[in-house]
Symmetry: D3
């Protein structure tokens, strides 16, 4: 069977495909009947769907992260598409499906990226740095393989955090070639750990879909949690105090502005660069995503994540030739 | 002998008294001779002094924190008073002086205040809170007895931090009577620990005079250091995780605004109150200090610490009658 | 009969109870029929209700502040509950109801609170202060007994302004014990009068429900109106000019920041404290209200009134034991 | 004798002229001798002067607002000119001088301007407006004739406030011709009264030189004082309440932004225009003053009053031909 | 036939009139049928309308800028009025209608205003200024006759830009009489050209209704485009460099604040005045529009364009007598 | 002779060396004698110097950009070093000196860098981009070889602009390897031209020392000037309109925030990257400069250019080994 991609659906389409339930809510309609208000996802996007007049059994069956086959029609409601579900059933083993194929994922495989990151770690010859980073990356390996980098913003896909780290490591290597005075090892360590506590801040499950923030995530946030994680790891592996302190400072300052969560601005050049590599990678990711759906020679809608800017898709040759842009 | 209080000196006065050297700098004058540029303090204030044409020996003798007897005259230079030193010598045991008498101090004795704080701790019946607070207060007792609450702002006097904590505890008790739903024990714990890492952020020596910030203080700041301190103490005493987390959140949020160093705003009522008790105590301290030298019915100069406001000293009866204002 | 509390209603409930009409609007539906769009209130909350296909007579009967008995069903519409009214009638004397029992009210009785405030006024021995405050409080007694402190924010309940004043007076007494240099009498006077012109700024009727702001309220605002009120009262009772001026300054500066309506910041310590007592009481009120409906160990929704923060309900013992929190 | 204009003095000049002492301070030099630190003014500018080694008698003679003849030399000290006084004496009747000739004044005579303003008042046919404005202008006539519009900013010259009002009235007349819906009478009244309480906010003496702000000026400010002034005048003359309220609103909102002292923005078109006429007149005054001393084709220094802008003096023909620019 | 003005329609009205289609969108309803979502305009306002179950033919016929006759009924949907269309047809020549009569227009005729502007240009005797302005105004005449001054804000009507320019020229003449030092010719030239590149920034068609911004408008904006336009025109007509530079500076600085698009603040008095005349004219236009529909003695809704202020319609005599207010 | 480097001088040093006069001002001292207030520079730094009691001849001889030999002594005045000149003479041909050796210069030779930039230009295969960039770089070659990138900020050294461009081009190449979708050619063109109009904005002479901004630089600024430069060049070489427009947009948006001079934010990915490469290069330059004089393990003074941060010099191995840091 040919599964229909969510991002290609149009009003009036009849749809008959498998999707993952990302979120579901049982509500009561104005005529006092229950219905399921469902968010369906596949790797290409997400869409709202309604299962009207649902039974008690259906309410129990079709929960969060269930893989379902639906039949229905697409309509438009207040400028947004939604599916009215006519038939629905749970996927069964015979369907031969893998749930992970229904979650938006990073362009590279999690395990492959993990190994690449490990190679960068091996380039860190300073033993104190090496031990702290290795300890934490090993300790967090399971989550690191699947977690996104954010709940909704940039890199909010499965293994998104690893992908973000890896791209930044590539940039870190390049930047160190131009600005030769930078301590490359400290920069690598900072890149790998800068968002590591997002693994504790968010609750993302095996599928790498964030459902909510943890209590500690809400009360402290991943920057503070990351500092504590390094503080403890450094003590455990017996690392030098200054090395640990510098890493903590890099985590603390990488959002740069107090109003974005960094009470201290970067005081060492590696922290300064870490901030810019982080923001560049986030911006390139978001821009690429917007331009993918913008026709050449036209402007996108205003993008909230990019300070409400519109983006323009140029017609310059070269952009078209590249297979894997950005 | 009658030591002349620095705050009472006027242009033209001849001065012959003991003072403490808070800071000293050896400079070269335009006629190419060395002189010492000295900051003298006693408990009432501070004043600049010059020792012209100083010798190598004098440069060595009159260092930071030396207690000296000087003879000189007071003049005015660019609207500020300064002393031209004619004679100077180090204080000797025969002078029968105590160096601590030459440092601005809090209105109450350090040990007495420490005991009062201990009594508040005994009112904390929640064992997790109790153990964390006790552990830290014991561990930091030596510094706590003498440290100021800041380098230059409010409570920048010997034992100033203890005085700040104690007044806030008194207020905390009162507030808990009016807003009965507040958890008084959590509030007490938060008050005692809210600035505790200033002991690690600043380097203040035995005299409680801050000379500079520590490296960790500059790179992380006392809010982050305080969170780490609680994190470790809680682990050591085996305290409940939520209790530790709530205390860390109170430290993190007590500056309230990101641009003042709190990446998270208060999310529990005790953290909200902690912030206001902190700011009220700082403001009352600063206002009192300004009004002490403002004549009745007149305005002070603009006060930088108070958003450049002038203050007004009212002539209402009552203010005059009180012996120990504020 | 058992009146069903609005805050306890759930989708699907059948409701048969008395409520007060807080606001009502006659609209025309898409099928061109008239319906009443009603806001119902009781002391526990408020809820939208629809009376479809209403007659001319119904439109006239069910106006603002009418007490009605309805029968209907609760459903959910765009995440908010609403009642579809099947039957409706006006309450009649035989129902034995008191309209004031259907308005959210302060936790204490208006008259009792008024008497408590009068006792605080008796503690003001400065005759100038005493006369100004007494004159205004007497003059405004009728409105003071029932007015809320705001249209929608904190203390937006019947007699809410009195409750706000009274709690602040209790705090004022406590604070004066800790910071002994404060002129308690001036502080009391400032507390009692700080929002007094809200009685002129808003139009709240006998029930203490604000329908709108007055023309003068819109064009000048309660801070300016309060200053004029004191200015005139002081002249009438022949009070000392400085006393009147200080009170006016306290009113003017109590919002602290120009962007919140105070062109001058506090210049006397009593004005400084007045501001913080005001904001603490507003915050405690709002926080208490949010936490009442937040389950232990969980976060509230984002609260717009509290800079869009979420609040956290801790599980610390002690909070549970207290009967009348805050 | 030819009095030398202060603005024309250069380093090295020998000066022998009469000037007014605007401010004076007796200080003690580093060699412990008294000297007078004097600010001299004439109509063209001001300059610092020093009278070294002054006697007790000299300290008494040469006080604020004394008219003196000095002989001395001009030098440069830290980029600013100052006069070293060699000889000094008080002016005597035989010198035939008028003290008012030594104060910077508005370009028009105070009494003439007052009469012009009275003519504008006669154009106000609305009796309520007319009576309020007349009452206040009569009541304040003495100060109005000489007061400046500010202590240091625009129109800080003798009769400067009248000049400011008069120019704005001329503009008000013009604007009413273009935007015919404006109520010209209300606009005139607002213009005349918008800064009237500066007469109470500042203490400027007969010479129209502001020495300081009054206590009420500091604690409330001229906007609030102006509202109270209108409130009382309207009651005294029995004016209509709305008319009084609209005038008060115009005063309240004429600074436009809360951070500049207006808690309410203009809500009627006449208040909107009042604000712009006020700011245009201030800007034109300040710009004219700066460009008078800027050579053609060059930039001025940065002007603090104009948001630290530099101004450019164009070489366009036309500018040169005009006798009385701006 | 009597065409019903859109601004007078009420819920329940039956409407049978001609309107212009400003915008139209073909959508699919929840029951999977197509419908047209139309914005109708006449000279008095605009309203949404729905043509349900539309055919392929109807979708093609009723496009943007079509003039149609509709029959339908007005209802209210979420506080906004909309028309349910029962019958619709295109206007035909026999209807004897002029499409331009269905577009909101400036109060004066485009050609008449153009000629008035030309007269002002003749008053510019400086040949360099004259040539630049004439060249551009001639070159852009076609668009200038019909373009609005904005897409949605002030003067968003046919010939609105010309009306804005003309009113500002009248004000410029008046202001030059009061502040005689202003170079009137430079001011006139700046007024005429200040927004001229809006003709290139927006795409407004013959009807003067802006549909969208041009690519260059989005990427550079009318301020930058205007500078380039003057730069080229000045070169073409051989104008003096300083004159061209001053005009460019006036365009660049006329929004005054960097955050509103002016990287440089005004540095010459004519640029300063240009800014204020621009903002005054925009404000008077917006205020007039709001007050036209506000009952006397009442407040308008909050107006987003005016920093979310409400406006008040006073009852002062005079306002009522004027035929053509503002 | 051994010329003493300015940055190594200490109070008390006797100095006998050649320096360049960067700026000079003839002033009059308090004892009414003329003296020269001189700013001396060499390639290592700058220092103030005084030539007391100077003659008319000396005033004429020692002007801006004169190369002089001085003998004098170094003293400290208000925490800054200055030289009291005892002897001074102009350098003569026999001294065998090259004036350019006394100006701070970029680490690479101007001509060599120019050739490197030309090689990057050859990599731009898009003919429109190529022609525009080539035209401008050729046209401005003379100034480009020597101009600094700023008057006082980063890269304020001879050939500083070229050095800034070249480092950014290296980074641009690297970034294009990681984010493969970027149009490298457009990015190169944007990098080369982003600050090119600084050559017209500033007046820097042959030595590459900026004395002041040009009139056009003040009134328009280099961003606007750069856009006009590209606009004209594109027309001259007959380049495609979109290419020219995209380049202009890159110039316009490269300061990113309106308050820093960019009325439009980047709307294409190459403009986004241009901004970050610009800021990274400025920051790395400033940080390197500060850390060069900061001892290991210590903090620098607060650096105004870096938002008043202190920087920390780490002791991590690696930093020490690198010969040419950054």
């Amino acid at each position: 069977m040919n599964n229909q991609e969510l991002r290609l659906l149009k009003p009036g389409d009849v749809v008959q495909s498998f999707y993952l339930i990302r979120a579901v809510d049982c509500k009561t309609s104005s005529n006092n009947k229950k219905f399921l208000d469902i968010t369906l996802v596949d790797q290409t996007g997400e869409m709202n769907a309604k299962l009207w007049d649902c039974s008690q059994q259906e309410e129990e069956d079709y929960g969060r992260h269930a893989l379902v086959k639906i039949k229905g029609t697409v309509s438009e409601w207040q400028s947004r598409l939604q599916i009215k579900i006519d038939k629905i059933r749970l996927a069964v083993p015979e369907d031969g499906l893998n749930i992970a194929d229904f979650v938006p994922v990073a362009p590279k495989d999690g395990n492959a990226m993990y190994n690449e990151v490990r190679q960068y770690i091996e380039e860190i010859h300073n033993q104190d740095l090496q031990k702290i980073v290795s300890y934490i990356v090993n300790d967090k390996k399971d989550k690191l393989l699947v977690y996104p980098a954010a709940k909704q913003n940039h890199h909010a896909v499965r293994s998104g955090l690893l992908y973000h780290i890896l791209t930044m490591l590539q940039m870190g290597e390049k930047v160190s070639q131009v600005y030769a005075g930078l301590n490359k090892e400290l920069l690598f360590a900072g890149i790998i750990l800068h968002d590591i506590a997002k693994l504790d801040e968010m609750d993302a499950g095996d599928l790498g879909i964030v459902s909510e923030y943890t209590v500690e995530g809400e009360l402290l946030g991943h920057i503070i949690q990351g500092i504590k994680m390094i503080d403890r790891a450094a003590e455990l592996v017996g690392a030098d105090k200054e090395v640990s302190l510098l890493l903590q400072h890099m985590i603390l300052s990488h959002h740069y502005e107090p109003e974005f969560g960094s009470p201290k601005r970067p005081m060492i050049p590696e922290a300064e660069i870490l901030h810019y590599l982080d923001i560049i990678d986030a911006r390139m990711y978001d821009i690429k995503k917007v331009l993918e759906t913008t026709p050449t020679g036209q402007f996108s809608e205003k993008v909230w994540l990019l300070q409400n800017r519109k983006l323009y898709k140029t017609s310059l040759k070269g952009n078209e030739d590249i297979k894997d842009p950005f």
